[in-house]
């Protein structure tokens, strides 16, 4: 495969970075090098922000419906390029092709949702707040916004934010993950074809210098971040210091409780995809499996048998259930956690350390791994592993399961499998995580509901997409008027 050097997209032009620092992008399934990504400079961030700032005045005065029409066209263009984007995503990241398609679908759903701008950006008004005085609130765009997304959803995550920012009249800068920059580059090729006005949407590749360039630039009004908790905290703090709006989504350690009355036959498929979909590299992935009650052995045996039947292989092959993790470095990290689990005394009942995929000796494969008899204080029950590793923590009661969910610090998602409405009510009412699955293993809100957790999983006020995000990208200007 030919190795391409990726370019930035600034002011409607593809621009080669002046940086000499380059990162290598490899195919996760083969280990083969497929692209080079420039680690751009803060100066290049400033160039993009200047272009976005310059485009802002004309763009904000473009009528909302006219702005929405760009997104209608973009939706069509994304549909036409659907397979191409999905395959690029699978190649660089390694998630199974159907999962990649699902991600691209979710990206497009945000484009669809944003086109409701003529309703969603409406202000409000009331007459006679005092005699002869009327009051109105107008929702105005603020200027330039930026997004710093993670590697695990390279297509979708920037689109939790970008469409809403831009359709409300702001201009935008995306810094794709330096680990998987090809997908967003492919997406920007489509944007370029659709022909947004120059400077409205920009992309600068890079790493820390670009992130700091975004945080330091005084013309950036707000930042949307998704990634690890330490970085999310850093971004939140820096944005606070520089007066930027911020929504900062961090890590997760999600529990999936299985009550004794759960319908196991119906639940098993989603219990498996919850933990092993995208090779466990999802902030909504199940991480701790919590059988509740005294008789967990039967469930665990059935679960392990079903997991063993999963097919691991080339993620472009539709028969494959799970592909590799994103990189050699990440594979080592996941393997390190498995070693840690053994060292701390958990019982390894399914070992994915020596996963071999025929024909792909250099792929970053980690097989499905299951630990039983994990205790809440073990590292594998506390840290976000972000790999295909299940930690089974057995508990006797629902209260213990709730306590476990609330003691992780992270509070992104929690799921329960049961047929008991009372148990569901107690669970959803009392757990801290703010995305809850009931007989669903991945509690992923769609574009018209907010996405984000609580506790150490989210820093900010307004979450990703949903109705509220229109507020994140607008300022409500209040007009109080009296006429003599």
């Amino acid at each position: 495969m030919a190795v391409t050097k990726l370019k930035n997209y600034i002011d409607g032009e593809w621009v080669e970075s002046e940086s000499t620092e380059i990162g290598n992008i490899t195919c996760s399934a083969t280990g083969e090098m497929i692209a080079e990504v420039p680690y751009s400079t803060a100066k290049e961030v400033d160039q993009a922000v200047n272009a976005a700032q310059e485009a802002f005045e004309a763009w904000r005065t473009t009528p909302p419906l006219a702005r929405a029409r760009y997104f209608f066209r973009l939706k069509d263009a994304f549909e036409e390029n659907f397979e191409d984007i999905s395959k690029t995503l699978t190649t660089e990241l390694g998630k199974a092709i159907d999962e990649a398609r699902g991600e691209v679908r979710r990206m497009i759903e945000n484009v669809e949702h944003c086109t409701g701008v003529t309703t969603m950006q409406c202000g409000y008004t009331i007459e006679d707040i005092a005699r002869g005085i009327d009051c109105a609130g107008h929702r105005q765009p603020l200027g330039v916004f930026a997004c710093i997304p993670p590697y695990n959803f390279p297509a979708m995550v920037p689109w939790w934010f970008l469409p809403y920012a831009v359709v409300t009249g702001n201009t935008y800068l995306v810094k794709p993950s330096e680990q998987v920059p090809m997908t967003q580059t492919k997406i920007f090729e489509v944007i370029d074809d659709v022909g947004f006005p120059n400077g409205v949407i920009n992309m600068v590749h890079g790493s820390k210098d670009v992130v700091n360039g975004i945080l330091d630039n005084p013309n950036i009004q707000g930042v949307s971040f998704v990634g690890s908790t330490p970085t999310a905290k850093y971004i939140y703090k820096r944005c606070g210091e520089t007066g930027k709006r911020v929504q900062s989504l961090g890590g997760a350690k999600n529990i999936v409780a299985v009550m004794p009355d759960a319908n196991l036959e119906a639940s098993m498929p989603s219990l498996i995809t919850s933990f092993f979909g995208c090779a466990g590299q999802r902030c909504l992935s199940g991480s701790i499996l919590v059988p509740v009650g005294d008789n967990a052995d039967d469930f665990i045996n059935k679960y392990v048998e079903r997991v063993k039947a999963m097919k691991i292989g080339d993620p472009l092959n539709e028969d494959v259930d799970m592909g590799p993790v994103v990189s050699e470095e990440h594979k080592k990290k996941v393997l390190g956690y498995i070693e840690k689990g053994i060292e701390e005394g958990a019982e390894l009942i399914l070992d994915g350390r020596n996963c071999q995929v025929e024909g792909y000796p250099d792929g970053y494969y980690v097989g499905p791994t299951i630990f039983d008899h994990v205790t809440p204080d073990m590292t594998i029950a506390k840290d976000e592993i972000f790999g295909p590793v299940v930690s089974i923590v057995r508990v006797k009661t629902l209260d213990e399961a709730i306590e476990l969910a609330n003691s992780r610090g992270f509070a992104n998602a929690a799921c329960i499998y049961t047929q008991d409405g009372g148990a569901v009510r107690k669970f959803k009412y009392n757990v801290k995580p703010s995305m809850i699955g009931i007989n669903i293993g991945i509690a992923a809100p769609m574009s018209f509901f907010p996405f984000g957790g609580a506790g150490e999983s989210f820093f900010g006020d307004i979450k990703g997409h949903g109705q509220e995000i229109f507020q994140f990208f607008t300022d409500t200007k209040v007009l109080i008027e009296r006429w003599f």
């Binding site: 679908r105 539709e318 028969d319």
Partner: protein, 142 residues
């Protein structure tokens, strides 16, 4: 080979539709002018529409919740060996066309059942089944 999920079920539908279309294209290049050849042109158009429909269903309905595995469904029963069919013989072409369109009909019928927990997908597959029925009844009049 198992058809174990949403994507592979739709992709196999695309595969069999494409296989049928390719067979008809071969027929149009070898058959003499006549009723059968004209009908093959009609079938090619119909297959192109159905391929697009299958692709659209796959694009628009994929989501995490739909990626749960499907069990007890394999492609072997729907494989048809087209080698050795004389594409220049109108009778053989019609007979094979009927066989492969019936295969598609059966496939859509069973796939719809397998996807019944996702009503939009099941409904789209049922629509495709209905189209197959119409094609087969047209063939009866040849």
């Amino acid at each position: 080979m198992p058809l174990k999920g949403f994507g592979v079920i739709l992709t196999f539908a695309e595969t069999i539709e494409t296989e049928n279309k390719d067979f008809y294209l071969q027929g149009t290049s070898q058959l003499p002018e006549g009723e059968v050849k004209s009908f093959l042109y009609e079938l090619i158009k119909e297959k192109e529409k159905q391929i697009k429909q299958v692709q659209r269903v796959r694009r628009e309905n994929v989501a995490e919740m739909i990626l749960e595995p499907v069990e007890g469904f394999t492609r072997d029963r729907f494989l048809v060996n087209l080698s050795g069919v004389n594409a220049a013989d109108p009778g053989a072409v019609v007979e094979t066309a009927r066989k492969i369109e019936e295969r598609n009909l059966n496939y859509y019928r069973e796939a719809a059942k397998k996807m019944k927990s996702h009503p939009e997908v099941a409904s789209a597959l049922q629509q495709l089944e209905k189209k197959q029925k119409k094609l087969l009844s047209k063939m009866d009049s040849l």
